[in-house]
Subunit: 149 residues, 3 copies
């Protein structure tokens, strides 16, 4: 078993079945050693600050990240091929006065850092948007670096 | 004539005249083989879900993509120099309950895939924002890879 | 003294003390010659078009850029190591009818171009969002290229 997936299991988490994109885009695109992972949304629906609180938003962010990791695994075969996480953008569906987007996106960042250690530390933007596909609470996109073959 | 522009013409589409940026940025920045295309907005103004429906949004997305391609052509001379499309972000100006951002942005993705084939398939994030420059319906930004010289 | 910081001083600007990220992310991540700078917000709070006008938004954009440059300096030691600015995304907290995001983000782009000359010219997306962390007016993220060691 892959070292990273073994760690994920010991953390009590598991990868969902990778869902195919519902529109005309790829789950990931690889360019040299760079992997661009498409934006994925949380299963959790709702707006932060009105429907959902920070703790619920963090769970949503973790859901979206597990979804991205499952897509990446289906593309590259083994998460151990990831050399480092470079950059994330986290879009948080935010009610008019909700300003704690960074805390919400920590639900995804914490997972990456726990899983990959220093290699999982990343640059990041956490921002607030009015709406998201399917009314989801959180949407994440990711840039990774893969190990040399 | 360039192979890609010939294909565009056979698809019944044409590139608009490239419009200069209205503010202090470049239409594209090239770094090694990577081309970063700046965010461009659709000619179509209005909000999805209130002023505009999905089909109108898809036209807006295609407009914005043709605009980006015209800017890229003016920078690199010939669209045949594009090796592959890596990643797009699509911002959709969305009314409070509009959640079909992915369908809207397919108006741009379909154009790229029809034009470039497998090389035009890309990672993508389609998200919903409250406002866009000039009140436009759609804004797109793109990362491409160029062929070696 | 560094050439770029010297120029900044002659422009009457100065770098703030670099603030540590308040959440689980890095200020910057370096991957090869590419530096991804995390999204940072302006000290200025408020919404463009309701609380703040374009001129105030431009000051907010400059604040956020100086903050990013201070973080980058603390990471790479000397801003002279920057070869070029590649791409910026500027998120502007926008009231319902505010559509001048590009003018606002020029407050950051002008600073980069004045400071780095042609190397500071960049691809850019300026977009409008409903909310930002801490209720800030502007949030910026940046991709740079570093000189070879």
């Amino acid at each position: 078993m892959s070292r990273i997936e073994d760690k994920l299991q010991r953390m009590g988490e598991s990868l969902p079945r990778p869902k195919e994109p519902v529109a005309n885009y790829l789950g990931c695109k690889i360019s040299g050693n760079t992997l661009y992972a498409s934006g994925r949304v949380s299963l959790t629906r709702g707006e932060l600050g009105t429907d959902l609180d920070v703790a619920q938003g963090q769970i949503a962010a973790k859901e979206a990240m597990l979804d991205i990791l499952s897509i990446i695994k289906s593309e590259i075969g083994d998460l151990d091929r990831i050399q480092s996480v470079e950059k994330m953008i986290g879009f948080v569906r935010s009610g008019p006065s909700f300003t704690e987007q960074p805390k919400v996106i920590d639900g995804a960042s914490d997972l990456l850092v726990n899983l990959f250690g220093a290699a999982g530390q990343h640059a990041r933007t956490a921002t607030g948007v009015a709406q998201l596909p399917f009314g989801a609470a959180v949407q994440l996109e990711l840039i990774l670096r893969l190990k040399d073959d």
